[in-house]
């Protein structure tokens, strides 16, 4: 067998131009496929990490409550839910946030913005991702009416450090309320999901919304070991249910996304006559469901492109082998005359193509991994716009995995073996007499 492989390897270099032409196809297909899988893996991981650092937990809890026939958004018994979650999940960290959609006014300009109220002592995830253009995190923490503005929003209003703005919002009960915020920081961030966050203090927003002291908009649960998230969510749901809460999980991608994007007032009547608290508990995997669907679609397009390219390769192999067999009839005749079986000739030609495929697939893999590393560690892209979704600190996240590379190599090798087998078998079936007759 080793002789076959050695011979096949040598034969590749007999027609260098032809081998190179076919090989480039292999390299290109491999390059595209590996990059596509690297993009898919990288995007999922990057979006997951960025979401967790900005606006989602491993498990995210939102809710609404019905009181005297009216429905209000939020979690009214926050401390109880936190305590139950800690009991259910052990040493998980749980952070409460308050979100309000409100108009902000400054010198005749106004705009509806989403304000995120955080506990500045415990909830420091944003701090570690911010680059301050003016002010600082400490200034913000020290001022209960302080606000941190993204650069774009500060520019829109022409706001500078120390300026005061007015917020006016319709509170959860319907009454308008106003508050004054002082700019204590202007920042930029490379995290797509933290990019537009207008950060204020939790208590400021809670008071603005005229809600009770034990109310929050969202609870983020961060697990020490974020494996088996679904199982842990089920544990949490059981405990909450046993303590009188109505608990549900998102039934589709849109519901899962709404868990991390809900804010502000909801005007709805409830005619059931039962006051209750309804909690929705979503895992980060469910929140990412819509991302996965999009990436699946991207991968499906990649699969179609790959199929077309493999078809082109199949035709190339067929033509290439037919030409090779015609050119090497004397050699086939000689091999058959000295006793090589038909299967041996077939195997030799199949081996030649597999080795060629492996060589150039390796080149494609190296190129794809190189490009991935280049984007991930050297090339910095502007994080503005939708491209920012796929960037981590300005780097395009492409993560080629061993599994992905093995899959691509397996696909190209198997398809090569398949496409080479049929023309090779035809060559192998030529008898010595027939072969030598065609030559002489």
């Amino acid at each position: 067998m080793i002789h076959f492989i050695t011979l096949a390897f040598k034969n590749i270099f007999r027609q260098k131009k032809r081998s190179l032409t076919l090989g480039v196809n292999y390299s290109f297909v491999t390059f595209v496929l590996v990059l596509l899988l690297a993009f898919s893996t990288g995007a999922t991981r990057n979006i997951r990490n960025n979401l967790i650092r900005a606006s989602a937990g491993h498990i995210t809890i939102t809710g609404q409550y019905v009181k005297e026939g009216r429905v209000y958004l939020g979690i009214p018994e926050t401390s109880k839910v936190v305590e139950l979650a800690k009991n259910a999940l052990g040493n998980a960290e749980i952070l409460a946030r308050y979100q309000v959609r409100s108009a902000m006014y400054y010198k005749g300009l106004s705009k509806m913005l989403l304000f995120v109220g955080i506990d500045t002592i415990r909830d420091t995830g944003y701090r570690d991702q911010m680059t301050f253009l003016a002010g600082s995190w400490d200034r913000f923490v020290g001022d209960p009416n302080g606000v941190l503005l993204p650069k774009d929003i500060a520019s829109y209003y022409g706001l500078e450090l120390g300026d005061e703005t007015v917020l006016s919002t319709r509170s959860r009960f319907g009454a308008f309320n106003t508050g004054i915020l002082k700019v204590e920081g202007i920042y930029t961030t490379n995290n797509f999901f933290a990019n537009g966050a207008v950060l204020t203090h939790f208590d400021f927003l809670r008071r603005l919304d005229l809600s009770g002291s034990n109310t929050s908009s969202t609870l983020y649960v961060y697990l020490k070991h974020p494996n088996n998230v679904d199982e842990k969510r089920n544990q949490l749901m059981s405990v909450l249910k046993a303590n009188g809460f109505q608990v549900s999980r998102p039934t589709n991608d849109a519901e899962a996304i709404s868990v991390i994007s809900s804010a502000s007032t909801k005007y709805q009547v409830d005619e059931s006559g039962n006051d209750r608290v309804e909690l929705r508990v979503a895992t980060i995997n469910e929140v990412l469901g819509i991302v996965r669907s999009v990436l699946k679609a991207v991968n499906a397009v990649g699969a179609v492109i790959t199929a077309i390219m493999l078809f082109i390769i199949a035709i190339s192999i067929f033509i290439n082998l037919r030409m090779t067999i015609n050119e090497r009839l004397r050699e086939i005749g000689t091999m058959r005359a000295i006793g090589m079986e038909s299967g041996g000739v077939t195997l030799l030609f199949v081996f030649e193509n597999i080795i060629l495929s492996l060589l150039f697939t390796a080149v494609g893999v190296v190129a794809a991994v190189g490009v991935s590393l280049l984007f991930r560690y050297l090339i910095v892209l502007p994080s503005a716009g939708n491209l920012g979704l796929f960037l981590d600190m300005g780097h395009f996240v492409l993560i080629p995995t061993i599994g992905g590379i093995a899959l691509v190599v397996a696909i190209t090798t198997l398809s090569t073996a398949l496409f080479a087998f049929f023309p090779a078998r035809k060559g192998g079936k030529i008898t010595p007499v027939e072969a030598l007759n065609k030559v002489f």
Binding site: R70, A103, Y105, P144, A175, I180, R207
Partner: protein
């Protein structure tokens, strides 16, 4: 220095909000204020009459072209109902509100659905709230106080202070300036829960519709948070003819949008 100032302001806001939330339900209206409010509500609430009219709203914003809206209003105060149908501009045509008691529904013809709204929803993103078109129940929603006298334009006016009994009203604090000569309000100041002046409304002209009832024909609403932004309303085609019952229904709104 700045921090200290903000902290004091913050403390003041908390105090005001706390006072509103905790103490208001226990407050009683002052008899003098209640009498003035009852008198003008008797004139402005049109029980016993069906009113059909058309409002033309012109919204002015600094640096922007004027925005014009035309709204047909069917009003039956006896049943606390009204139906509002947008007629202009074409982009808003077919949109409408239906109010029945405390429930207000916005009909969106593009999606053919009704959305439950707070009964004080703003009309077409203007400075005018839907409760401007309906029956007033100030004495139920607010604790009333008599805050003295003042002069608005050339009219001697009584000043009535309103503080919300519950926070499900748009403006938890209000001041109504009521003309002493005819007992009709000429100016209203609306404040937020924390005491910021949000909007000032001027009732410029009224028209009698019979039975001692009055309806405003010219109104100016000014946004105090955005100086220069105001909405001017004229009320035309006022009729007190009987309106068919089916007009006060969601089905009628749907039908009108087709």
């Amino acid at each position: 220095m700045g921090l200290k100032r903000i902290s004091l302001r913050s403390a003041a806001l908390i105090l005001i909000a706390a006072v509103i939330a905790v103490s208001i339900p226990a407050q009683q209206s002052e008899p003098r204020a209640l009498k003035i409010v009852t008198e003008f509500q008797n004139k402005l609430n049109l029980e016993g009459l069906d009113i059909t009219n058309t409002f033309n709203l012109v919204q002015k914003k600094p640096g922007e072209a004027d925005r014009v809206l035309q709204i047909k209003v069917y009003r039956r105060d006896a049943a606390d109902m009204f139906t509002l149908i947008f007629q202009y501009p074409p982009s808003e045509k077919g949109k409408g509100y239906f109010r029945e008691g405390d429930n207000l529904y916005l009909y969106l013809p593009t999606t053919r659905e009704f959305v439950y709204r707070n009964r004080k929803d703003d009309v077409g993103s203007t400075d005018v709230r839907t409760d401007t078109f309906g029956r007033l129940e100030l004495e139920k929603q607010y604790a009333l106080s008599y805050d003295g006298q003042t002069t608005i334009a050339s009219w001697e006016c009584d000043v009535i202070g309103l503080k919300a009994r519950q926070l499900d009203v748009s403006f938890p604090i209000q001041k109504w300036f009521v003309r002493r000569s005819d007992g009709l309000p000429v100016k209203v100041e609306n404040y937020s829960a924390s005491g910021t002046l949000l909007r000032t409304v001027y009732y410029i002209q009224y028209q009698s519709v019979g039975n001692g009832k009055e309806i405003f024909t010219k109104l100016l609403s000014m946004d105090n948070l955005q100086p220069g932004q105001k909405t001017y309303i004229t009320n035309e085609g006022i009729s007190a003819s009987k309106i068919e019952n089916y007009v006060f229904s969601k089905a009628y709104l749907e039908q009108q949008s087709r």
